[in-house]
Structures are given as structure tokens and as C-alpha cells.
């Protein structure tokens, strides 16, 4: 089973939920798709880490063969190509590496070069296989690194936990595509609810079953309770606002390893959504 953990709003507790869920399961593959700030590894501190580069293709033009027909410029829907002063120009950060320009060039003047956009790290801690996507600082698109992290980690084990990026755009869609279940995480605040509702819509659109974890709850937040009742979103777990949890988080400790009651709660959640704990 593959569970995606997402929240819309950043800082709601995705990594907290994903790490503790995997730790409660005992044996799991944990994939960090929050490639702009992959924090899961801080908790796991995986051993025997190997690193593989992630590259993306970029067109290169052979000036000898190019006749300036602009087929490539006209084809590119992202407008990553321009043709000025009798030479094609490519804008790497706009290019989506679709390869279309090479396909449409009647002169065979478009080749490919590969550009490193990040790395995928793999390591182990206890029975957790930790896969971490790391986007190179300054890169615009996280998608190639997310794809590489997923292809490294998916179908490696019975239970896979995907720690998704914040937001509800392309990187999130890419991260949840292969998930069997979406665990939404929110804080009981207007901001948390607003952004959680956005990803909830997205997951429903993609036909994924969803459940909610409410993090740092001091008291039930009526608009959130109303939303869940109205939209039929099951509330699977409520984590109270506790100083101790923040402290363990700051230490890089995995909370369920220090709190048996919390571990039992995560184990129950996992069972409820159809996953199994070792």
C-alpha cells in the first residue's frame, strides 16, 4: 500500500505525520518528495546512503543543420525557444524537456544534452528504507527529481509512505499520482483549512480516498469540523498541541519511539486506512 501525506499549507505537520506513520509501521519505504526542503532524513538519519544524479534533457542546436524554419519555436507550448539573429536560443528553466523540438525539426538539427537538476539519496535506518529527493538550489521545476525519487522507492516494499511537497500544484499531483490513499494533515486554523481543502479537492479529482489528521489541536475548530462533516472527510487522528512533541521534533527524535500511546494511535490509523504494521 502506498500512502501519500499532504497538507496544502507548509508547516502543518506532513513530515511529522509521514515519519511517525512509517516508524509506527516498523517496516516501510519512506519517500521524501518535498524536494525543495527534504527534512525527513533529519529524523531518520539513514545509514549507507548512496546518491544518484537526476538530470533533465535540454535541446542543443547544430548551427550547420539549422535552416531557421522555426518549427521548434512554433511547437514549444512553453515558449522556451526563441529565434533571433538567425540563431535558436533555449531558456533552460522554461524548458520542460518534452523532446518535441527534436521530433519536429525537419533538418535533424536538434540534439540533447543533460543537465543535473538534483539528486536522489537512498539509505536505511532499522527497517525503514529512506529515499530522499533533493532539488538543486535555484532550479524552477521539482517534478524531475520527484519522479526519480518515486521510481527509486515505489514497489520496493509492502508499505510506502510518500512525504509530499506543500501546495497543490504540479509537484503535488506528481507525488500523489501513484498513491492508494491520501492522508491529509492540517492545523485547526483558517489558513490550514483553506489549503487543506484545496488538496482535498485535488485528491478527490484524482479519485483517491482521503482521511484527515488534525495536528496541534488545542480545541476543535468549528469551520474545520463543519467542512469534514459536509464533505464526508473522516477525521482519523487528532494530535493535541503539546510542548513535548515540539521539543522532540527540535531534537530530531521520532515521537512514536518515545511515546507508546502515540505509537498506538498511528498504528490504529494505519490499520483503519488498510495498511499493516509489523
Amino acid at each position: 500500500m502506498t500512502v501519500a501525506v499532504l497538507s496544502g499549507k507548509g508547516g502543518a505537520g506532513k513530515t511529522f505525520a509521514a515519519v511517525n506513520l512509517a516508524a509506527a509501521a516498523g517496516k516501510a519505504v519512506y519517500i521524501d518528495c518535498d524536494v525543495e526542503e527534504p527534512n525527513g532524513r533529519l529524523f531518520w538519519q539513514p545509514r549507507g546512503v548512496t546518491e544518484r544524479p537526476v538530470t533533465t534533457a535540454l535541446p542543443v542546436f547544430d548551427p550547420e543543420k539549422c535552416v531557421g524554419c522555426r518549427s521548434c519555436v512554433d511547437f514549444c507550448r512553453f515558449n522556451a525557444l526563441v529565434y533571433v539573429k538567425k540563431a535558436p536560443m533555449v531558456f533552460p528553466e522554461v524548458c520542460h524537456a518534452c523532446g518535441g523540438c527534436a521530433l519536429v525539426c525537419p533538418q535533424g538539427a536538434v540534439g540533447e544534452q543533460h543537465r543535473k537538476v538534483g539528486v536522489v539519496e537512498e539509505g536505511n535506518r532499522d527497517q525503514i528504507h529512506v529515499v530522499t529527493g533533493v532539488l538543486r538550489t535555484g532550479e524552477v521545476s521539482a517534478v524531475p527529481v520527484i519522479r526519480a525519487a518515486l521510481s527509486a522507492g515505489l514497489s520496493r516494499g509492502d508499505l510506502t509512505i510518500i512525504d509530499c511537497p506543500p501546495g497543490s500544484g504540479c509537484p503535488v499531483m506528481e507525488s500523489v499520482r501513484e498513491a492508494d490513499y491520501c492522508l491529509l494533515v492540517t492545523e485547526p486554523t483558517a489558513f490550514g483549512l483553506h489549503n487543506m481543502a484545496m488538496v482535498h479537492q485535488l485528491c478527490r479529482l484524482l479519485g483517491k480516498p482521503c482521511g484527515l489528521l488534525i495536528n496541534r489541536e488545542e480545541a476543535p475548530y468549528a469551520p474545520l469540523e463543519d467542512y469534514c462533516a459536509r464533505e464526508g472527510l473522516p477525521i482519523l487522528l487528532r494530535i493535541p498541541y503539546r510542548r513535548q512533541l515540539a521539543q522532540w521534533g527540535a531534537e530530531g527524535a521520532v515521537a512514536v519511539r518515545r511515546d507508546e500511546a502515540l505509537k498506538a494511535e498511528f498504528t490504529r490509523l494505519l490499520r483503519e486506512i488498510g495498511g499493516t504494521a509489523v
Partner: protein, 119 residues
């Protein structure tokens, strides 16, 4: 010299966006001839600035007067040898007069653009 100016729906006042301006005005400073063409980049999914810059270059413009311009578009315009001037007034006509009188200065600050703006 042909001068390009991104203009709004009224086809008179400058559009603050270069890439997504609905119209592009091209004025020939020697003959006084003027044409207003639809900006093919206005509805682009992405890379509107790049496409608009390509369009301006294809119309053989030698100068562009604009409220603002992104870094990518500026690269294309520079490669095409097109001078980029900072607009000094809301109306296209006033800016053309100002350019003629040497009262416009070349743009030195370009915004990072909005490509990939959606997280």
C-alpha cells in the same frame, strides 16, 4: 526606427505587462506610420515574455518602451539588438514624443519573471 509599445485594450495607454499586453503598437519614427497588432503571447500558457519578445523582434523593432520587462524577455531583446526604454508617461503618444526628445532612459532593472510562479 521602429518602436514597439505594449498597449492596453484602449490601444492608447501602456499596458503594465509586456508579455501579456493585449496589443502591441509599432511606430516608425521616420515615416510616422503606426500599426497596432494583436500580441500573440497575451494568452500564452507560459513564457509569455519570451514569446512577446520574439514577436517584437520579428517586427524588426529597434526599440521597446515598456513599464516593466522580465529577465528572460530582456535577454531575447538584447540578443536581437533591441533597446529597452523605461516608460515615462501613461500614454503611448507621450512616450514616443519623450523618446524623440531624448527624455527616456534605458531600462536597467528587470524583474525575475513569473515563470514557475505556481508552486
Amino acid at each position: 526606427m521602429i518602436v514597439a509599445i505594449p498597449v492596453d485594450e484602449d490601444q492608447k495607454s501602456l499596458c503594465p505587462s509586456f508579455g501579456r499586453a493585449p496589443w502591441m503598437m509599432f511606430s516608425d519614427t521616420e515615416t510616422g506610420a503606426q500599426k497596432i497588432l494583436e500580441n500573440p503571447a497575451a494568452q500564452a500558457q507560459g513564457g509569455a515574455g519570451l514569446k512577446a519578445a520574439q514577436f517584437v523582434a520579428d517586427q524588426d523593432a529597434a526599440a521597446l518602451i515598456t513599464v516593466r520587462c522580465g529577465e528572460n524577455a530582456a535577454k531575447v531583446l538584447k540578443a536581437a539588438g533591441i533597446a529597452i526604454y523605461q516608460s515615462g508617461a501613461p500614454e503611448a503618444a507621450e512616450n514616443l514624443a519623450a523618446l524623440r526628445d531624448g527624455r527616456l532612459s534605458e531600462m536597467t532593472r528587470f524583474h525575475p519573471g513569473f515563470v514557475g510562479g505556481q508552486p
